[in-house]
């Protein structure tokens, strides 16, 4: 053997085993997982394809804006780019993360990991960091295009940074959800499908739910209106107040009107990732300018849903923001998903989930 006596077994570093989570463990796990990911995929091609797709989009947007004669093209280009990038990244994240835990179990490497001194929290957080990091690399690769938008004008650097942070947070929460599904379901195909269903539910399901909710809460009111009648058929109005004058008699008319109450269902839009992104990052821009900023439009849409009385008045219509609710939703879900993942990794197992083999 190696000459070490068993007494010398416990290494200096084992002293920190009592702690549930340590920097060493998270880093070890993240580095390991990142190296595996780096060797497994054709990253250069993926990143190149990502960049070219976004380049074509940005270039196309710019061409369209030039053709319509819009000024300050940067704002519109940036909005389009960020929304498209979020959509694309939401397709990438489940692919990267949805087999994180059960895939390891299927490959027969999870049990030997669980018997090391890495704690469940270190394994889960390390894996999550290693899954999140590539998505940040994808964002970083798009930086040249964002700079292009800056050059076109109208976008502030602060807004760019805010948008990138919001995107990164959304993708991190999504990665935590996908990883949790991979810890909950025994088969990696199941968790992959479930992850894409979650993406669908958040981005399109919330819209559907909002409109269904809107219809369910719509009330019909009976409106009674008094109509002035002039016998000679010549309406007369006070020139200053606009009130009818010299009215001969009043008729009453009753009719049914349906009243939508978006303020009752706006919260269904809050978890929509595009709503969170748009509402949290677009600034107040003069409405009179030409062009079409998709971020601004979505922001106006969700805010006026929450506060319908504010109307479409031009500049940022209301201070009643929707994004804090959305972001809180994602942070809660993300932390919850991570906690559940850690619980699922905790050994020794008492009751085994259905279909799960330990090793």
């Amino acid at each position: 053997m190696t000459g070490d006596s068993p007494a010398s077994v416990t290494d200096e570093a084992t002293q920190s085993t009592g702690a549930a989570i340590g920097w060493w463990g998270v880093r070890t796990m993240a580095e390991h997982e990142f190296r595996l990911r780096l060797r497994a995929g054709r990253w250069r091609w993926l990143l190149a394809a990502w960049f070219v797709t976004l380049l074509l989009l940005t270039w196309g947007l710019r061409a369209a804006l030039v053709a319509t004669g819009a000024a300050e093209r940067g704002v519109d280009m940036f909005g389009g780019l960020m929304l498209f990038m979020l959509a694309l990244a939401m397709l990438v994240v489940p692919a990267l993360t949805a087999q994180s835990i059960n895939g390891d179990r299927e490959r027969g490497v999870l049990a030997t990991l669980q018997t090391t001194l890495l704690t469940p929290a270190e394994i889960a957080i390390g894996k999550l960091v290693a899954a999140w990091a590539p998505t940040l690399v994808f964002l970083a690769v798009s930086l040249p295009l964002i700079v292009w938008c800056l050059v076109e004008g109208g976008v502030s650097v602060g807004r760019v940074i805010g948008t990138l942070i919001a995107t990164a947070l959304l993708l991190g929460a999504l990665a935590a959800i996908a990883q949790c599904l991979s810890a909950v379901f025994a088969r990696s195909t199941t968790s992959a499908v479930m992850s894409y269903l979650v993406v669908f539910a958040l981005s399109i399901g919330t819209l559907i739910a909002f409109f269904i909710g809107l219809m369910l809460t719509t009330e019909t009111e009976t409106v009674t209106e008094r109509i002035p009648v002039w016998d000679n058929g010549q309406p007369q109005f006070n020139e200053e107040t606009g009130q009818p004058i010299n009215v001969d008699r009043w008729q009453t008319a009753e009719y049914e009107a349906s009243v939508q109450q978006t303020e009752k269902v706006w919260w269904l839009l809050a978890p929509n990732p595009f709503a969170v992104l748009a509402d949290s990052t677009s600034g107040t821009v003069e409405w009179e300018r030409t062009g079409f900023d998709p971020l601004q439009t979505i922001r106006e849409g969700v805010r006026s849903a929450r506060d319908p009385d504010s109307g479409w008045s031009g500049v940022a219509s209301t201070e009643k923001a929707v994004w804090p609710y959305g972001l809180a939703f994602y942070l809660l879900i993300g932390v919850g998903a991570l906690t559940l993942t850690i619980r699922r990794l905790r050994t020794p197992y008492g009751v085994l989930p259905r279909g799960v083999r330990v090793a």
């Binding site: 077994v9 290494d11 009592g18 463990g25 190296r35 490959r107 049990a111 001194l117």
Partner: protein
């Protein structure tokens, strides 16, 4: 406390739904010896090792591994225990060295110590030439050896090996025996499950038989009862002279074939007497050995009622 430094299991039971994987197992694997865990497929060996390796909680019974309870203090057990599962995956894109270095970090060894440990172990399992090749080019037996090295990376006091000899070529098996004997000689407790009984006989000091989730017997290998009358295989340079001599002595024997013939003898004493007589009568005997092994006999006796 001393006797708990190895593995000590008393009356453990583990049920999966309707299936009783481990019913009632008692077992001790003391430090300084190799203990063989023997039993037919589905007898609960792997489940038992999963409990010892801190992965499964027993429904009842007490377990001590390296002076700690794997249920209440799994981290302490992990620091002192090396476990090699019966089937395991490897990180195919990593090199053998990287696999061991990662395992070392996962056991919280400092980086330089991890690197040193990886070098030592690659030498030990004769994979130094393959250290920097990706694991997917390794053969099944080489991966198996890497799995053993992985279990040894943190220099554990207790080793739990589930079918470590599976897929190994004869030379690797002999080397595995040497490695395990060396580990036991260092004062470690080694618990090995295997089906290759001849293998275990030369490797183990103690044997624990389990069947249908229960400990059937637990004893020193030297104390195994040997059945009195058993076949011995004999070979001579001239097979006819051997047959003639046996006929003269009136000893029952089978017809000779290419690898000699079998005679039924009652014990070592009878064999020694027969050999002496043959030598005196100038029959040039080259081989005289009992067929099968004590462990095999015992195993067959333990599991007889299965048929």
């Amino acid at each position: 406390m001393e006797q708990r430094a190895g593995v000590e299991v008393a009356g453990i039971r583990r049920i999966f739904g309707e299936v009783i994987a481990v019913d009632h197992v008692d077992l001790a694997a003391p430090p300084g010896s190799v203990t063989a865990l023997v039993g037919p497929n589905g007898s609960g060996k792997t489940t038992l090792l999963l409990v010892l390796a801190t992965l499964l909680r027993p429904d009842s019974g007490t377990v001590w591994v390296a002076n700690h309870d794997p249920v209440t203090d799994p981290q302490a057990v992990r620091a002192l225990t090396g476990w090699m599962p019966d089937s395991f995956g490897t990180y195919d894109t990593l090199t053998a060295r990287e696999v061991l270095e990662f395992a070392a970090s996962a056991y919280r060894l400092r980086r330089d110590r991890g690197e040193q440990r990886a070098r030592e172990l690659l030498e030990l399992i004769h994979l130094a030439d393959y250290a920097d090749l990706p694991v997917h080019v390794l053969s099944r037996g080489q991966k198996q050896r890497l799995g053993l090295a992985r279990a040894l990376v943190h220099n554990p006091t207790v080793l739990l090996l589930d079918e470590p000899a599976a897929g190994l070529d004869p030379r690797s098996r002999i080397e595995l025996r040497g490695i395990l004997r060396g580990l036991a000689a260092d004062g470690r407790a080694v618990l090995v499950s295997s089906h290759v009984l001849a293998e275990l006989e030369t490797m183990a000091d103690r044997v624990v038989f389990v069947d249908r989730g229960q400990t059937v017997s637990e004893q020193e290998l030297a104390d195994l009862p040997r059945s009195e009358r058993r076949p011995w295989r004999m070979q001579a340079l001239d097979p006819n002279s051997l047959v003639d001599a046996l006929d003269r002595y009136g000893i029952e024997h089978a017809d000779p074939d290419a690898s000699g013939l079998e005679v039924l003898l009652s014990g070592d004493e009878a064999a020694a007497q027969l050999l002496a007589r043959l030598v005196r009568d100038e029959v040039r005997v080259t081989t005289c050995a009992p067929v099968g092994s004590g462990l095999e006999d015992a195993y067959l006796a333990m599991t007889e009622d299965r048929r």
